[in-house]
């Protein structure tokens, strides 16, 4: 071994040009073997789980016949501290064996195969970088040789070179993987991403930015960020704010696509720094909110239309209500006056001319009076029905039990001679319009009173029960009842299920009740059987 030191720069260059770890080792082994006369070289690294050392595919052989030894070697693994590679890994020092053919298999597990291959001298040397063993190189030659310091030094230097190259390559590889990962993330983003320099120039963009602007990456990079917005001044203010505050949140801008389309976006941006903490630029992400904006516009438009329609309907309704009001007022005043005349003058006839009328004449006049009074009652009931619709609802807590008790007391005053047992459940309170609910109960209890008038012992009940989970109330009597076949007519105005002569009435009461219940958003229905009483159920 002479002055091979001048070859080191060449080796270093070749190693550093290798494309990866494997080929760098390969280049190193080949160069070292050829320069320093070794016939075989291989390399050992830690297995993935770190438990043992294993050989890597790269290696050097001076002749093809050594393939077998390489193949056999690849089946070996060395636990740390075992065999030459294992010992060197721990000691971080080279080992020189002048003749492996005469050492035991304990010291050199591959001794038998080495002997078979004709190997004698052996050198193992660690590749160390940053104080860590990256690999162990093992060289073998066919002749026996004592340790040569110069050779060891040369190989040590080459190994050190290899170590630093490998380390650099590994770091590069990691960086590459990391940047590839970052790039993929950036490209995977559906939001347009852009980096901006302190001068406001675009430094980098992702695919989404190309799509939203309609401009290619190459044309975008280096141009003014603010050029792509409807209000460049605003865009400039935006990234300047990021440089001064460190960030912006939901900064609204409008991108002008090359086709002329305007896209509403919200920008979120922060500054980003190099490893020394120096601000390198602004990283900005846009969110396309044009769809949301469109939807908002649509909602606004629909709301405006709806409001317009509501206003129109309300106006119509108000007009209709006013008309109804005027009509009712007129009915209330004008329709009754003629009836008063008919009744009044019939009575005057009876009083002043009763002497010249026979019984039949008087009977006719009595009928005229009765008819006019009945018509007056009809008019009154109709007005009540229409008032139920016209009346403005004033909701409050209403004690139905108290109302029912009051109505019952009034009914008993009208016919004190009757025997009627009222059974009113206490404490039934609902939310509703007191006056309307009073009118409703007056009708229901009044009906019960009326239709039990033929009973010796009448029973009228007002109570509460849950029906299909809905709080419901009922008015029950043991009166004459009605045929369920006519139940559909029950709640219609002017429909009656009994003769006027049996049970007087105008047929408006239950229509009024139903309207009151409807105005409270509830429902009413009835169950009955002829002769067995009736029950009216309602909920509010």
């Amino acid at each position: 071994m002479k002055d091979e030191a001048y070859l080191l720069p060449k080796i270093t260059l070749e190693i550093s040009e290798a494309k990866d770890f494997q080929s760098a080792i390969e280049v190193a082994l080949k160069n070292i073997c050829e320069i320093t006369g070794w016939n075989y070289g291989d390399a050992w690294i830690r297995s993935k789980d770190g438990a043992v050392l294993e050989s890597i595919p790269a290696g050097y052989r001076s002749s093809g016949s050594l393939v077998k030894f390489k193949e056999l070697s690849e089946k070996f693994t060395f636990p740390l501290g075992t065999g030459m590679p294992g010992r060197i890994w721990l000691s971080k020092k080279y080992e020189w064996v002048p003749d492996v053919s005469i050492v035991s298999e304990i010291d050199f597990p591959r001794a038998q195969f080495a002997r078979d291959a004709g190997f004698r001298a052996c050198l193992g040397i660690p590749i160390i970088a940053g104080g860590e063993v990256l690999a162990v190189l093992v060289f073998l030659m066919f002749e026996s040789r004592e340790e040569e310091m110069q050779l060891v030094d040369f190989i040590s230097v080459a190994a050190a070179q290899l170590g630093s190259v490998i380390r650099r390559k590994q770091a590069e590889e990691q960086r590459h993987v990391a940047s590839l990962y970052a790039r993929n993330l950036i490209e995977a983003s559906l939001d347009p991403l852009v980096t901006i320099s302190s001068e406001g120039k675009i430094m980098d963009v992702n695919k989404a930015t190309e799509i939203i602007t309609g401009v290619s990456r190459l044309r975008l990079i280096g141009t003014d960020f603010s050029d792509y917005f409807t209000e460049p001044q605003n865009a400039r203010r935006g990234y300047q704010q990021v440089f001064s505050d460190g960030y912006v949140r939901d900064y609204p801008l409008r991108i002008r696509n090359i086709s002329g389309n305007i896209i509403d976006v919200l920008y979120n941006a922060t500054v980003y720094r190099d490893e020394n903490g120096q601000i390198m630029g602004v990283f900005a992400a846009a969110r396309d909110i044009s769809k949301i904006k469109q939807a908002e516009e649509e909602i606004k438009k629909l709301n405006a239309q709806l409001e317009q329609r509501v206003t129109e309907r309300t106006t119509q309704l108000e007009a209709a209500n006013k008309e109804l009001e005027a009509f009712s007022y007129s009915v209330s005043h004008d329709l009754r006056a003629p009836l008063r005349s008919i009744d009044g003058f019939s009575q005057a006839l009876l009083e002043d001319y009763g002497g010249v009328l026979d019984i039949q004449g008087k009977d006719y006049l009595a009928r005229v009076r009765s008819a006019s009074q009945r018509m007056a009652q009809l008019i009154d009931d109709m007005l009540v029905l229409s008032r139920v619709t016209r009346r403005e609802m004033k909701r409050s807590a209403v004690n139905l039990s108290a109302l029912a008790n009051m109505i019952a007391a009034e009914l008993m005053k009208t016919q004190p001679q009757r025997l009627v047992e009222f059974n009113i459940a206490p404490g039934l309170v609902v939310n509703g319009d007191t006056e309307l609910l009073r009118a409703m109960l007056e009708n229901l209890l009044g009906n019960a009173w009326k239709f039990t008038s033929t009973k010796q012992s009448a029973k009228i009940e007002f109570g509460f029960m849950e029906i299909e989970g809905i709080p419901s109330y009922f008015v029950r009597d043991n009166g004459v009842g009605f045929d369920m076949a006519y139940t559909s007519k029950l709640f219609q105005a002017f429909q009656r299920l009994h003769l006027q002569t049996e049970f007087p009435g105008t047929g408006i009461g239950l229509a009024t009740v139903k309207r009151i219940i409807n105005r409270h958003g509830g429902s009413i229905w009835a169950e009955s059987e002829v002769g067995k009483g009736a029950t009216f159920y309602f909920n509010l």
């Binding site: 008063r340 009744d343 009044g344 006019s372």
Partner: protein
């Protein structure tokens, strides 16, 4: 003592006849002045128009006032006479067909002393007239 007048403000001649009949039936003998609309009523009360020269300080014992009247309606008559010093305490009984809430509320708001709805049944009407006659013409002590 001279019995004070009753002013009946009523446009319907049938109602006038029936009211007079009811008063008569109940032996109410006060002189009844009939005004056929609001204008006539105010003229009488303030001694103007057809009643120019009437002593306006002499106010009726009771004014029976219909609401639906030609030219000036009952509510306006009520409002005007309550504003006038001479008539602001005159007893006014609104005697009308309707029991519309708006009529009731406005009548009382404008200072009506009573509100009576004329029943169709003449016998009941006559009873109402008897009672109001008893109250306003006999029992009530007018403002001196």
């Amino acid at each position: 003592m001279i019995k004070r007048n009753i002013l009946l403000v009523e446009d319907n001649p049938d109602d006038v006849a029936l009211t007079l009949r009811a008063l008569d039936k109940n032996n109410i003998a006060n002189e009844v002045i009939v005004a056929k609309d609001g204008v006539e009523a105010l003229d009488y009360l303030f001694g103007e128009g057809a009643y120019a020269g009437r002593d306006a300080t002499s106010i009726p014992a009771v004014i029976l006032l219909d609401l639906k009247l030609p030219r000036i309606d009952g509510l306006e008559v009520l409002e005007r006479l309550r504003k006038d010093e001479r008539t602001k305490f005159a007893p006014v009984v609104v005697l009308t067909s309707s029991k519309e809430e708006q009529d009731l509320v406005m009548s009382y708001k404008l200072g009506a002393n009573s509100y009576i709805r004329k029943p169709v049944d003449f016998i009941r009407f006559s009873e109402a007239v008897r009672q109001l006659g008893l109250y306003w013409l006999v029992l009530n002590e007018p403002v001196p």
